[in-house]
Amino acid sequence: MKILFLLASLSLLIAAPFFGQIALPLDELIQPQSMAHQVFMQIRLPRVLLAFLVGGILSLGGLVFQVVFRNPMSTPYTLGVASGATLFTAIAIIAGLGAYSPLFAFVGAMMTVLILFAVASRFGGYNPTTLLLVGIALGFFYAAALMVMYALSTLQESYEILRFTMGSLDIVGFGQIGILTAATALLLLIIRYYKEAFKALLVSYEFAFLQGIHVKKLSYTLLFGVSVAVGAAVSLTGPIGFVGLIIPHMLATLYQQSAEKLLVPSFFYGGVFLVLCDLIARSLADATLPIGVVTSFVGAPFFIYLLLRGRK
């Protein structure tokens, strides 16, 4: 079963850049000067790579958040990290700084994390429930502030903000992917470095503490690493929901193994899932469907099916 999934996924990843609205004949594709070659190298390939990295980050980030917060519902989205990015993008657009919107989005995401940490540090011990509630409250605040931005914006600006909130994988060239790759590498390094401690966290906070682990420091470092990567991802693509929720749950059902063994599969299959959703988005409609719509359309029913099957 696992091998079958792996083979299907690898084929999908290889095939994905060849499909799209413009057909790319193979004989044209191999000529470096042809239009087809340009489309493939400058649009298709970066797009698939972007989808893979973003999907991987969102899924792995979801898994880490679920462990750190002891809550199967928590993802970087639940905590307002993505809403922070969206709000700041809206601010950039209204201020006429649309060109710098990725930078604003990243700042928005990181600021949210810093606010969370600042609030959390007012409590003596590390308290995941409080942190989660603060995140949810921040999310509502951001949503309201976003409404203010809509109210203040012109029709054109409103449309730009709306497009961002729908999520998009439109990208030209590999320039922006470099930053995302660096953020991904940072996250993977942090997780690799703390792998043993992460395993102890899978038992309980008390257990991890008794094994000499500084639980608070560990949790904050993990959350920080995830937030940097998610901030970078959201700044390029806008908020894309559901990946961080569905993929870790699906893998837990499929693998029946502890979460520490799901870290690599989470990243990989999160990436594959978003590549697949993007393929659907590009193939179904004449105009490309927003990617966030497809992930939720595909993800929500499948997630409910999984939950129902798990109950039996």
Binding site: G125, K199, L201, V203, S204, E206, L210, H214, Q256, S258
Partner: protein, 232 residues
């Protein structure tokens, strides 16, 4: 290397001070709600305080492996977030005493067959034995056991009694229990808590005299010489 707690008080515990020499053992007894588990959590720093020192060093300022090797606490129930984790994987996480192999620890508790089971399939008694195996592998200088026999059948209880009585891997054992027969047979020094105060601290011989028992248990515990029983 003595363990010291000095003048500790909070909402539950009041004026707690005592010392335990390295290599000596202790049983903590007391009614439900007397503060036994709270005391255990204070001793192992799960509850923050400046009151506990080991070998003259404040436990609060001990970190990482040094703290882990100094003191360990085994709860009465295994609480595990990720129940897909297998028993062997769980034990590997607390494997500080490398002179002891995981297989040997499982063998001593007669639970070798559980090695590859996911933790979610364990019964409460089995998980208690797994926790005890983790205490052996951890090998801290001071190990606190919170109700180690609470969920065990008579045969398992005996296995565990012999392990607590005869084990030489763990330097100092602190056993919290309601099982007076267990405390009587172990013969460790007794610390009796009542409403957060230390009501008795001394040898088992002194504690298990009928007059002392009557004073603490109002006639519901009888010392029959060979056994201590609850009189229903």
């Amino acid at each position: 290397m003595p363990l010291h707690i000095t003048d500790y008080s909070d909402e539950i515990l009041h004026d707690i001070s005592f010392a335990l020499e390295a290599g000596c053992h202790l049983c903590i007894l007391g009614a439900n709600g007397a503060g036994k588990t709270t005391l255990a959590k204070v001793l192992c720093e799960l509850i923050d305080s400046d009151a506990v020192t080991i070998d003259g060093k404040s436990l609060r300022h001990m970190h990482g492996t040094a703290r882990a090797k100094a003191i360990n606490y085994i709860p009465s129930k295994l609480e595990i977030f990720d129940a897909h984790m297998r028993v062997e994987e769980l034990l590997a996480l607390s494997h500080f005493d490398t002179t002891l192999h995981i297989g040997d620890a499982l063998e001593r508790l007669r639970i070798t067959h559980l090695k590859d089971h996911p933790c979610k399939t364990l019964s409460s008694g089995e998980s208690q034995l797994v926790l005890t195996a983790s205490a052996l592998l951890h090998g801290a200088r001071y190990t606190l056991f919170d109700e180690p026999t609470a969920n065990l059948d008579p045969i398992r209880m005996r296995t565990l009694f012999h392990l607590l009585a005869d084990d030489t891997v763990l330097q100092s054992k602190i056993v919290i229990t309601h099982n007076l027969e267990l405390a009587y047979k172990l013969g460790f020094d007794i610390l009796y808590l009542e409403a957060g105060h230390i009501r008795f601290h001394g040898t088992a011989d002194r504690f298990f005299t009928q007059s002392q028992l009557d004073a603490l248990y109002h006639g519901s515990v009888k010392n029959l010489g060979e056994h201590v029983v609850v009189s229903l």
